[in-house]
Amino acid sequence: MLKQIFNKLPKKSSKTDSDELSRSSESPQAAGKSQQRSNGGGASLKRASSSAVFPASMVSGIEPLVPFKDVPNAEKMNLFVSKLSLCCVTFDFTDPSKNIADKDVKRKTLVELVDFVASGSMRFSEPAILAMCRMCAINLFRVFPPNYRANGVVASGGENDDDDPMFDPAWPHLQLVYELLLKFISSSCLDAKVAKKYIDHSFISKLLELFDSEDPRERDCLKTILHRVYGKFMVHRPFIRKSINNIFYRFVIETEKHNGIAELLEIFGSVISGFALPLKEEHKIFLWRVLIPLHKPKSLGVYFQQLSFCITQFLEKEPKLASIVISGLLKYWPVTNSQKEVMFLGELEEILEGISMVEFQRIMVPLFLRLGCCINSLHFQVAERTLFLWNNDHIVNLIAHNRHAILPIIFPALERNIKSHWNPAVVNLTHNIRKMFVEMDEKLFVSCHAQYKEDEAILILEAEKRKEAWKQLEQVASLKPVIGNTAVLVSPLMT
């Protein structure tokens, strides 16, 4: 589809184009026609879409067109198309001294277009929609330049790495194009049934690719636009969800590099809240296969808030998913990254806040095994954050109800902290929780204590037994040489 659009591009840098445009300023009708004519003209596909390769620098001057208010209503749509094609010219912004006048003409035209679309005075004709999509494609769909910081090529002693993201110098125009596209898509004058032919899968894919932009302003524009597209084009919804999922999969499974995860999740935040009940299988798979694995990448911190919001949205829709979500968190629980661990604990508390008794009971055993480890964490923030869970009345209530299952699991962790944690605040908090359990059920506490003493002895014994068992095994193994037909591959680990 996009290729079709591209094929109809006018020769944007040719003289004739600007001639036509300047002529058209006398008669808007002629402008419409000349547009049509040049549509059939040569395709400068390469040039238009590859501004990164060949910054369009040899653009001959462009002439402004008459303002909208100076033409009768009947001509406005044609003028709209002409103005859009004028904006298909792209400029080299790396050199600010180049084409200053022309750049300004384009900027003013874009502003006019934004105002026109915002006024919402008339329905957009099909050629107008086509022209709009084409103009956006030419201006927006570009390949991002290499990111020198991320690539290992740089060896300059690491002194000049300022961490500023790379911004496209053409942003002043890009911003207006984004604004225009947003107004256009949200406009009530845009008939989705007609527009879906042009705002199609390929167009949406290209929009999604732009989410990898380093510029947060650009990602913000994209987020709003895509959100509107999702709202307006019902037919494209499954495609959009699928495409975003693919981005997530690639991020989690292959690259761990993408700038727009937070924005994409933000879109999903509101998409999820619109899911119908009961939840479709597809959406549950999304939770399990996409959202939960998104906890794994090390850059979690960048999009954690949005991710956590999505998860909460899901659980508000369907509280029965809580135990599944928690078991997912346990699966991806960070082993060495304490900062991530604190985030996980925060999310966990939020989930536990709203969890039902049944769901809680389903997951509590593995959960508290993990929390036991967190309580003992040498990173005091992790230990502290875990112990703060007991400040939450709902959680304490859940624990109190199931104390017979939970206390035996975490008792050793509490004892270990009191005995040997280096951080006084953590020791203090642990004391409080211990006291809480004593007040809760003294009998249970005493029996746990006794059990703990016993277990400690057993543990040592078991380790001994295990060692003995392996020794025996190895002896037996050494007596039974392998008689396979192939040469024996003895792994270096066994002796």
Partner: protein, 587 residues
């Protein structure tokens, strides 16, 4: 001995251990799977252990990864190749998990097992497995399947082969980009097993699809496969099918694609033959050398020598050399650096005249580059130029460059130039070295950075090796030994280190007459760190010198040190004494 009579349940031990909360214990037990298997014997391994492992797939990824790895070398434990197929089910499950490393490892293990399996077993067990994975509901299975076709295909009967090719074609058009990427990555491997007739039809159409994929990432991987595929085809087919694609790619709008082409292009030259290289690939390559994106130019510049080597000297001079000239003044230092690292290799390709006339000015300008990496890269490949035009033409400009690098404020730069000093010395000859470089080598021994001093000591040793003990005694040893009296203890330590390195090179006689007295003298140093280093050096000298010297000089010194007030000095002295006794005993 009574223990042996007790019944032992190896599987029970494993199961028990795998239930443990401590992941380390679970990992350990998986790592010792082979022990369990041997204890069980082949039959029970097949009937009990492997089925158990097939079910134990809900563990931590780390445990699963270990399982996948162990199973790859498990063939002997299940009774050899005729039973290898029992290993497939657990690995098949592991091929479908979420975590990429587990899946990759499982595929690797499956390939390893499949490569040993008997043909009939492959048809009965392996190929059905590949087909199951390829039609897996979840994309992870399909991703894994792509890496198994090249094992399955060769032993399949004709009908099955057709089916496998069709399935692979479908994978290349899968709905999920992840699967298409995997199919693109593995295409070269699979294509290598496919018969020439089908290569031209089936595989090429698959390849065409991939090169037109709407996802950048897929196309990128297709380019990567270009060269591998090109080598499989007949030159005329390669010209007909691959060449247009690659030429097209070299003008792709995505710089990543162009970058990939720049990296691969020279490999394709061999596949398409000299004529097409001249008409098609050279212009494409020249375009890449002049690409707008520095990243692409870096990749292209790094290949100028390899590319020129394939061309005739005339072509290289006519087309490549002008670009090289431009690149040598490129605005990106990384481009210049990439060029500098390979440009010396062009000298043998172009021959003496062209080198002197055209390349030499470029060398000289790069030697004066403001970016130290560029200069270093030139110096590191000096030998290649030396072979063609001799070093004399360069030596004038070389010295200032070396001196400047030797004093660079980044210690890594200094370190790099030190590494090249022995090479330089061998290329420039003794005379040049004596005049200009000797002083630098001494200067480095007193560098502020330990790594430099360490490298400098090593450098002295390598020089002694290069020019021989006699030269060393005349030109470097006196200066080095002079420094043993430096007021700074760290510098004295450096010299001790240098002595320990030099001793084996210089031999017994010089060591005992020239070096040893200094070391023994240093044993009276006031700094304990020097003293225990003396002990260490003496220990290393013991095997080199005559036994009489050990008895008369080294031992008394060590005995004295072993009564030092400092605990570390005593420790190392007694260690050295012990080793001297051992040497004596063994001799």
């Amino acid at each position: 001995m009574a223990m042996v009579d007790q019944p032992l349940y190896p599987i029970a031990v494993l199961i028990d251990e795998l239930k443990n909360e401590d992941i380390q214990l679970r990992l350990n037990s998986i790592r010792r799977l082979s022990t369990i298997a041997r204890a069980l014997g082949e039959e029970r391994t097949r009937k009990e252990l492997i089925p158990f492992l097939s079910e134990n797939n809900d563990d931590d990824d780390e445990v699963l990864l270990a399982t996948a790895e162990e199973l790859g070398v498990f063939v002997p434990y299940v009774g050899g190749v005729e039973h290898a197929s029992v290993l497939l089910p657990p690995l098949e499950t592991l091929c479908t998990v979420e975590e990429t490393c587990v899946r990759d490892k499982s595929v690797e293990s499956l390939c390893r097992i499949g490569a040993q399996m008997r043909e009939q077993d492959l048809v009965d067990h392996f190929i059905p497995l590949v087909k199951r994975l390829a039609s897996g509901e979840w994309f992870t299975a399909r991703v894994s399947s792509c890496g198994l076709f090249h094992i399955a295909y060769p032993s399949a009967p004709e009908a099955l082969k057709t089916e496998l090719r069709t399935i692979y074609g479908q994978l290349c058009q899968d709905d999920m980009p992840m699967v298409r990427r995997s199919a693109a990555t593995n295409l070269g491997k699979f294509a290598a097993t496919v018969e020439a007739a089908h290569l031209k039809t089936d595989i090429m159409s698959v390849f065409d699809d991939l090169t037109q994929d709407d996802q950048d990432s897929v196309r990128l991987l297709a380019v990567e496969g270009c060269a591998a595929l090109g080598k499989l085809l007949e030159p005329q087919d390669c010209v007909a099918h691959i060449l247009p694609v690659i030429v097209n790619f070299s003008q792709d709008k995505s710089w990543r694609v162009r970058y990939m082409v720049a990296n691969q292009l020279y490999e394709l030259c061999e596949a398409v033959g000299p004529d097409s290289t001249k008409t098609e690939l050279v212009p494409a390559y020249v375009r890449l050398l002049r690409d707008n994106e520095a990243e692409v130019r870096i990749a292209a510049a790094g290949k100028v020598t390899k590319f020129s080597r394939i061309l005739s000297p005339e072509l290289a001079i006519q087309h490549i050399l002008p670009c090289v000239k431009e690149l040598s003044t490129d605005s990106s230092q990384h481009v210049r650096s990439a060029l500098a690292s390979v440009i010396m290799g062009m000298a043998p390709v172009l021959g003496k005249d062209a080198t002197i006339e055209q390349l030499l000015p470029i060398f000289l300008s790069l030697l004066k580059d403001e970016f130290p990496d560029v200069r270093l890269n030139i110096i590191s490949k000096l030998d290649q130029v030396n072979q063609v035009i001799g070093i004399d033409l360069l030596s004038q400009s070389l010295l200032p460059a070396i001196v400047e690098l030797a004093e660079d404020r980044h210690w890594r730069v200094r370190l790099a130039i030190i590494e090249y000093i022995p090479l330089l010395a061998s290329q420039l000859g003794v005379g040049f070295f004596d005049d200009k470089l000797g002083a630098l080598c001494m200067q480095w021994l007193k560098d502020k950075v330990y790594s430099i001093r360490d490298a400098a000591a090593n450098n002295v040793k390598r020089l002694a090796e290069e020019f021989g003990p006699e030269w060393a005694m005349q030109h470097i040893i006196p200066q080095v030994l002079d420094m043993i009296n430096d007021p700074h203890y760290l510098y004295r330590m450096t010299i001790l280190h240098a002595i320990s390195l030099l001793a084996p090179v210089l031999g017994s006689e010089i060591t005992s007459t020239n070096l040893l007295p200094l070391v023994v003298n240093a044993a009276k140093d006031r700094v304990p760190n020097i003293k225990f280093n003396v002990a260490k050096v003496l220990q290393s000298i013991i095997p080199i010198v005559e036994e009489s010297v050990v008895e008369s000089t080294i031992k008394p010194c060590l005995v004295e040190l072993s009564e030092d007030p400092d605990v570390d000095v005593r420790f190392f002295a007694s260690q050295a004494l012990q080793s001297s006794d051992q040497v004596k005993m063994s001799s």
